[in-house]
Structures are given as C-alpha cells and as structure tokens.
C-alpha cells in the first residue's frame, strides 16, 4: 500500500511523457508555427491567410461542407432513427443493419464508385444522355464532395440518435401522455430534448470527420477545401511553408469549436441514466405503415448503398468507360492486388494490427489508472488520450513531419519519418480514444472488489490486473481494439502525408495511387473491396462484442 503512489505515479508520468510526445508536442509545434514569429506571438500569418481569396474560399467551403453534411445527414438519419426505434415492422432488424453499410466503405473509395455511377460519364448520366439527351452534374465541385460525405457519414447521426431514443425510459413518455401530451407536442417537448445529447454526439463526429476528410476531395479532384490545401502546401511547397501550418491551426480551431458547441448541447446532461423502468415499446405498424417506412428507407438509404455496387462492379471490370455497365469483365484486378503487388494488403494488416494492439494495451492501463488510480495527473492522461478525437489527421501528420523528420530512431539509423513505424504510431495515437473509452466503460461496470479479492488471495497488483481485471474488460476493450484496427486500416488523412515510400504504403495509399490513372481503377477498386470486407467484418464483430454498442460510434 505504502509503495503504491510512487510506482503508480512513475507509470502515469511515463504515459504522460509518451502521449505528450505523440500528441501534444506535434500539435503545439503546428500551432506555434501558425501563431508565432521569432518566438513572439503574432496574428500576422492568420491575417495573411484570410487575406488570400483562395484560402478564404477554402475556409468557407470547409465550414459549409461540415455544416451541410450534418444538416443533410440529419434529414436522412433522424427519420430513419425515429422509425426504426419507435415502430416495429417486418425487416426492422435488416434496416438497422443496412444502416451500418455506408460506414464500411471508406469515403474515398465511395467517391470513386460514385464517380463511376453518377459522374459526368457515369452510368446514370450516360443513360440520361442516351434517352433524353441531358446530363445532370451530380458530382461536380463542392456539391459532389458534400454528397459523398453526407451519404457516408449520416449513419453516425442515425446510430447515436437511435441509441438515445431507445434508451429513453418508457415512463418518461407515459408520464407526458398521462399529462395530456401527444403526437408532435410529445415529440417536441419530451423526445426531442431527451434525445438531443445522442444526436449532438453523432453530429459532432460527422462534422469533425468531414472537415478532416482528405481522400474524398482528392479523389473527386476538388481541392478548394482546407484539408487538401494543407496537404498540397506541405507536399508541394514543403515543411517550411507557414501557410500549411496556419491552415492546420484553422482546422483545429474548427474542430474545437464544434466540440465546444456540441458540449453545450451535451452539457445539459445525459438524461438517460436515471432509474429506468424499461425501454419504450415499439408501436407495431400495419401493412400500409410498414410499406411506407420501407419506401422512405429505400429512398433515403438507397443512394448511400450505390457505391457498394459500383465498387464491386469496377473491381471485376476490365473495361468500363463511356458505358453504363462494364463491357469486359475480369478477375485480373484481384490477381494484381493479391499476388502481384500484395504489399498494400500486407502492410495494412501489419500496421493496423500493431496499432490496435498498442491501443488495447494502453487503453486498458489508462482506463484502470483513470478509474482506480490515485496519482494526481491522471486527469491529464484522460484529456490527452481523448484529444485525437478533435485533432484532424492531416494536422497530426504535419506535426509528426515537423517534430520527427530530423529525429533518428536509435538502432535504426534512419529518421522516424522514413520508417513504417511512423504510420503505426500515428494510427495508434489517433485511435487510442476508442480503446480507452471501451476499456473505461467495461471497467466502470466492474466492482473494485473483484480485483481486491485477487490481491487478498496473494496476487500482486500486476497479476491481479492481468488475471482478473483485464479478462473482465475483455469485450469492451476488444470492441474498441477492432474499431481501432478497421479505422486504421482505411485511414488516408494522415497516411498520405506520412508514407515514406510506395513499398511501405498501406491499402488506402494503394487505392489512392491506383485511382490516379484510368488503368489503375480496376485494381484500385479491388483493393477497395478488400477494405470494405475488412471494415465490415471488424465493425460487425465490434458491435456484437459491445452488445449493439452504438456508443462505439461517438466522439
């Protein structure tokens, strides 16, 4: 007992040091370049940024894409959440599962598929041209980007709103009905305020992901947005260019403001925890009602499922150009990515696995320290470990390049940024919140006495943790680890800046490279299908482990 604080504080401080180097330091580096000149704070770079029309436009576009993706996504997600939670009808389970499908396709892969189907010479427009002699510019410019992002990210809003709605205590609603409230008034006065925290969580996550999304604009070749601008400054002008850092700082500011606003909504409390007396029973719909719900669902959800079809078709096509459907089919694309250049898949598995394993270990230890530790400084650990949720991947990558490009790894003789380790580290850092949160939730449900009983019977602190606490955290931790794995496997925002050279590139990088040329689209799509399969399998297992866990998809 006496030794406890010192051993524990050593652990806390070394973790703080580690996370400080991996998160705080790169972030501060980026920010300091943006707001300091010669060691003195200055607003000059920021003013210069807003003085340039291109950057101003990129800023407005980024803000608009985030806000519009949330707004449009809500139009799709909220009706779906309400109907799947509040009503019971044939195929309700199926509809809920379909809702996860948009998430399993990485947005930049989806972008390619949308291009193929809705683009200027895509399936739909060729068909329209042939029949009616007109084309519709679905995918042009900013609107194309926003559409792809909306259709990819709206399930975050759906899942979180649905979780909040279904966690509502039946008696709350009954009490309102008992007092004479019903219909829309009931919705507005009781359901809406109570499900607001869940909705806000989903909206926040969507906003942060959208403004950080680098792959979609690059794939659609629309670059007047902050993330692609930052990327282009760093890759074309170089690390010494101040504008790149200012863009990053502006991105961070946007993320933080979103976080702050949604905290305002969340701050009114997670109401759902107060003594429950059972879930709200779903109202059984008649045949007409069920048909109506499915019609709405297909209308809302259908477009989001188009890219899945598109990407599979593209992956087995040899020639698909200027025709509604592929004209020549082949399996050659899979031969290419599985046997001729297998390193993209292999690298992905390796990096994502290592990152997830690191996250699982760190997550378990940090969660235990947060809940059961005594050392001061633990709160800092919490704050730092959850920071990556609000730090755009591009920003972190730029920070890494600046902090680590001159730093040689002892024993390797090469700078950290020219080894694949940098990718594992950035993945681990960015997904750490998933495992910390998973482990934290699991540990919270576990009485302390379980660990104490092990100590009482002779197991030291480490052994009691390994034999009792850790296995009991298992499910939540594993679910978090799986999500860390799949989202690392399809990351492009930080990957694209940090890949040292092509042979070390993971799957997402491979897709990006392939998609640069017309002949590469087939193999690129095949890699995309592999990515989808990976994410689908991982997400499916994770949600099962976490008992339906919509809580997994939160910021």
């Amino acid at each position: 007992m006496i030794r406890r604080p010192s051993a524990e504080s050593a652990l806390v401080w070394s973790l703080l040091l580690l996370l400080g180097a991996g998160i705080v330091c790169p972030l501060l580096q980026v920010l300091s370049v943006a707001v300091m000149v010669d060691g003195r704070p200055t607003a000059a770079p920021l003013l210069a940024f807003f003085a340039r029309p291109l950057f101003r436009e990129a800023f407005v576009n980024t803000l608009a894409s985030g806000v519009l993706a949330v707004a449009l996504g809500s139009l799709i997600a909220v009706p779906l959440a309400l109907s799947t939670v509040r009503y019971s009808f044939p195929g309700r389970g199926l509809l809920t599962t379909l809702g996860l499908l948009p998430l399993v396709i990485p947005p930049f892969v989806g972008a390619v598929a949308f291009q193929q189907i809705l683009g200027r010479s895509g399936t739909v427009n060729l068909f329209l041209l042939e029949r009616f002699g007109v084309t519709v510019p679905f995918m042009e410019g900013l609107w194309g980007v926003i559409m792809v992002q909306t259709l990819h990210y709206f399930p975050f809003i759906w899942l979180n709103t649905a979780a909040a709605l279904s966690a509502l205590d039946r008696s709350l609603e009954e009490a309102a009905e008992n007092l004479g409230s019903s219909g829309f008034r009931l919705f507005r006065r009781v359901l809406l305020p109570l499900s607001l925290p869940g909705y806000a969580a989903g909206a926040l996550l969507t906003f942060i992901r959208v403004i950080d999304d680098l792959g979609t604009p690059l794939m659609l070749n629309y670059t007047t947005l902050l993330a692609p601008q930052a990327y282009m400054r760093v890759t074309t002008v170089g690390l010494t260019d101040v504008d790149g850092y200012v863009i990053c700082a502006v991105l961070v500011a946007l993320s933080l403001s979103a976080l702050w606003i949604s905290k305002g909504l969340l701050g009114r409390g997670e109401f759902t925890a107060v003594g429950r007396s059972g879930e709200t029973p779903a109202r059984v719909l008649g045949a007409g009602g069920a048909l109506a719900v499915w019609a709405i669902a297909i209308l809302l959800l259908g477009p989001a499922l188009l890219p899945h079809v598109g990407i599979v078709l593209l992956s087995v096509s040899k020639v698909w150009s200027l025709s509604p459907l592929p004209s020549v089919y082949t399996l050659g694309n899979y031969d290419e990515i599985l046997f001729r250049v297998p390193h993209f898949i292999w690298n992905t598995l390796r990096y994502a696995f290592l990152a997830a394993a690191l996250d699982v270990g760190l997550g378990a230890v940090i969660a235990r320290l947060l809940l059961r530790g005594r050392t001061r400084g633990r709160q800092w650990l919490d704050a730092i470990a959850t920071m990556p949720l609000a730090v755009p991947g591009v920003v972190l990558a730029v920070g890494y390049l600046r902090v680590f490009h001159g730093w040689s790894v002892p024993g390797l003789g090469a700078p950290l940024t020219s080894t694949w380790l940098i990718l594992v580290i950035v993945y681990a850092v960015r997904r750490l919140p998933y495992t910390v949160r998973g482990a934290y939730a699991a540990l919270q449900l576990q009485p302390v006495s379980l660990e104490e009983a092990a100590q009482n019977l002779g197991a030291g602190r480490a052994r009691a943790f390994l034999k009792v606490t850790l296995p009991l955290m298992g499910r939540g931790l594993l679910a978090g680890g799986l999500l860390a794995f799949v989202s690392s496997a399809v990351d492009l925002s930080s990957t694209i800046l940090l890949v040292p050279h092509v042979e070390l590139g993971p799957l997402s990088y491979g897709i990006y490279l392939y998609m640069q040329s017309a002949v590469g689209r087939g193999p690129g799509a095949a890699l995309g299908v592999v990515a989808i399969a990976l994410v689908a399998a991982g997400t499916w297992r994770a949600t099962r482990l976490a008992h339906g866990g919509a809580g997994l998809f939160r910021a």
Binding site: I2, A453, Q455, N456, R463, K467
Partner: protein, 371 residues
C-alpha cells in the same frame, strides 16, 4: 479437523487509535480493539458507521490516517494486501465471473505455486467443507446466492489465511437462508478454529455468533464486550437501542446506596437499580433501560413497587403477550411468556404496575440533557 491442524498458532489483531479520513470527514475515529487468538469478533453498527472501512484497512485496501494495526504483534502498515494473508470474504462475494467455481477456489493456491494433483485434491476438500462437491465446472452466474457465498468462503479458507474477515456475509440472502448460513458459519468457525472478524449491522447475528462484539457509531467504538454484556449492560442509549428492543425511561437520581442508586420516574415511582458502572450524584438526570422481556405486568392493587401505568395496547401472539403500558412521560413495552401467567391477561385501560428487577435494568446517562 485433525489434532495437528488445531495446534497451528492462531493469530491475533491489535488496532491502536486507528482513524481514517475521507476529505475532511473522519469516518473512523480513534478505534482501539484487540482480537484474541481464535476469537469470533464482531464489528456491529448501523450502515455507514465505518465497519467496512475498518475491515479494508486491516486487509490493506485502505491506509489508516492515524494509529497502527498489528497482526501477531507485527505492524502491517507497509505490507501490501497480497502479502498479508488475511482472508477476506467480500460483501457481494466478488466471485470472478469469467472463471469456473474450480478456478475461483484454486486461485489463491495457484498464486502460491500449488498445482497438479495437490491442487485438485485441496480444491475438492475445500468445496466439500462448504457442501459444494460437484460444482467445480459451474460459473458463478449459475449459482444461487447461498452457493455463491459458500464458494467465496471456500476460496478464502483454502489458502489457510491467518484471519477470516467477513463483511456482512449474510446480508444478501433471504431470511431462511440467512439463519441456515448463520449456523454454518458457527460450525465452520468451530471446525477451522480460525480467528474471525465479522462485520454486520444485524444485532441478532452479532449476538448469536460472536465471542465478543464491538459496537460502532459514527466511526467511533462505543462499547466492546461479550454478547451478554452488550445486551444486558449497554453503556449508553445508542447501544441499548441498537442491540435489541429497549425501553428508555427518563428518570432522575434521588438517592445513592452502597449497591446502587434509587431513581424516580416522571410519575413519581421510585425504583432501586444498579449503577451500571457510572458515577452518579443526586439530582442527575438519567435514562432507565428496561428490556421488554425482563418486565412483568401486575395488577395495580396487588403490588406496591414498580411503575404504575395504563394498558394502551395488547397483542396475543400465542407463546407471548405483548403490552404497551402508558406511564407519565412515555410508553413501556412489555413482553411476557404466556405460560408464566396462565389465564391472566389485561384489557385496554386496566390500571397496572410494571415490575422492574434491579439486576436486569441499567441506568444510563441521559446524553440529551446532561453535559
């Protein structure tokens, strides 16, 4: 148990001025007790009085902010929980849900590097001791509350701890199981002979199981003694009321005698009682503690002593008769065995006298009015 095993040296505990603070609040205050080898020692007190905190300090899960704890004359402050070898049975059992009954019970032995056939046979014997042979492959979730309790006991006893620490072990069981487990705990203590520290808020458990009891109130030790002492010679009103039903009649001291004192009730009745170990002076206000079962109701005309009053309630329970007798300044509850008063019972409104014997009544300081 064989002869050899009972000859193992039994452990003892000494707490000296132990205190514990959470924030600014002292939840344990200056507690000094000593538990003798082989004793069944009980910490008794209402919920929140610091019993669990005391137990956890002994087991090493909390550090005293004041005072010291010795086990077998050695201070244990700097010994970590896993080196103390003080077997604790947790309030909610704390069985590990991811392990079978076998693995739960085997845990402590595995930590002590026991394995193979020796492990198997010891686990078997431990489960046999608590009547759970054949339950090895089950998960804790597949056991009833009583069975979980037994597994928790077996898991602790198998490592032959120096002490057995039990935190409200019966509080999660239904009434019937509770009295059955009470008997079994008594048997286990007899068989194993291990020094036991038992924590409960239930006075019946404490009185029936313990060799000695320490009554706690708001973190402080109020009285320590054998069950009979605690029951018949409570030191203050708190103990008297907490340990069994008690009538507390306000009186004042009017005369000091060699063997005791004479007190007067509000209604003017004079009663000779023992002094209860307190130093009294004439005029002191006090509370007279009367156990209902030690009182008798008599017809007012028949006797001269006692406290006069009126029957306000009467319940016939078969073997017992319960009376509420109104006296000036309060009500006295009386509990009489039916056979002792064949055919005689009182009606509402009857004028009666409540007979008090000096040996079974205790005079307590009236903490409410005297300084």
């Amino acid at each position: 148990m064989t002869q050899d095993e009972t000859l193992i040296r039994l452990s003892e505990v000494r707490m000296e001025g132990v205190g514990k603070r959470y924030g600014a609040a002292w939840v344990v205050k200056d507690v000094s007790i000593s538990i003798r080898p082989g004793e069944f020692y009980t910490l008794l007190g209402p919920s929140g009085c610091g019993k669990t905190t005391l137990l956890r300090m002994l087991a090493g899960f909390a550090q005293p902010d004041e005072g010291r704890i010795f086990v077998d004359d050695e201070p244990i402050d700097s010994v970590p929980p896993w080196k103390r070898n003080l077997g604790m049975v947790f309030q909610h059992y704390a069985l590990w849900p991811h392990m079978s009954v076998f693995e739960n019970v085997a845990f402590g032995l595995r930590e002590r590097r026991v394995s193979g056939a020796e492990l198997d046979s010891k686990v078997k014997a431990a489960l046999q001791q608590v009547g759970l042979e054949g339950f090895e492959p089950r998960r804790p979730s597949q056991l009833s509350g009583g069975q979980q309790q037994r597994v928790a006991l077996a898991r602790t006893l198998i490592v032959q701890p120096r002490l057995l620490l039990l935190d409200e072990p019966l509080s999660n069981l239904d009434a019937q199981l509770r009295s059955q487990m009470r008997l079994e705990l008594a048997r286990l203590h007899r068989d194993v002979g291990i020094t036991t520290l038992y924590v409960t808020h239930d006075q019946a458990e404490a009185l029936s199981l313990s060799t000695r009891i320490a009554v706690l109130s708001e973190g402080a030790l109020v009285q320590e003694g054998r069950p009979e002492e605690i029951y018949w010679k409570p030191r203050n009103a708190f103990v008297a009321e907490f340990v069994g039903a008690a009538n507390l009649v306000p009186v004042s001291v009017i005369e000091l005698r060699e063997m005791g004192v004479v007190v007067q009730t509000t209604g003017g009745a004079r009663l000779p009682v023992s002094s209860g170990g307190h130093a009294w002076s004439v005029g002191d206000r006090a509370l007279l503690c009367l156990r209902p079962e030690a009182l008798r109701v008599e017809e007012a005309e028949r006797s001269a002593g006692g406290i006069p009053g009126t029957i306000a309630a009467h319940v016939f329970e078969g073997s017992r008769q319960l009376y509420d007798v109104t006296i000036p300044g309060g009500t006295i509850k009386v509990e009489m065995i039916t056979s002792a008063l064949v055919g005689r019972s009182f009606k509402l409104g009857d004028q009666v006298r409540v007979e008090v014997s000096p040996e079974t009544s205790v005079l307590l300081p009236d903490e409410g009015s005297t300084a």
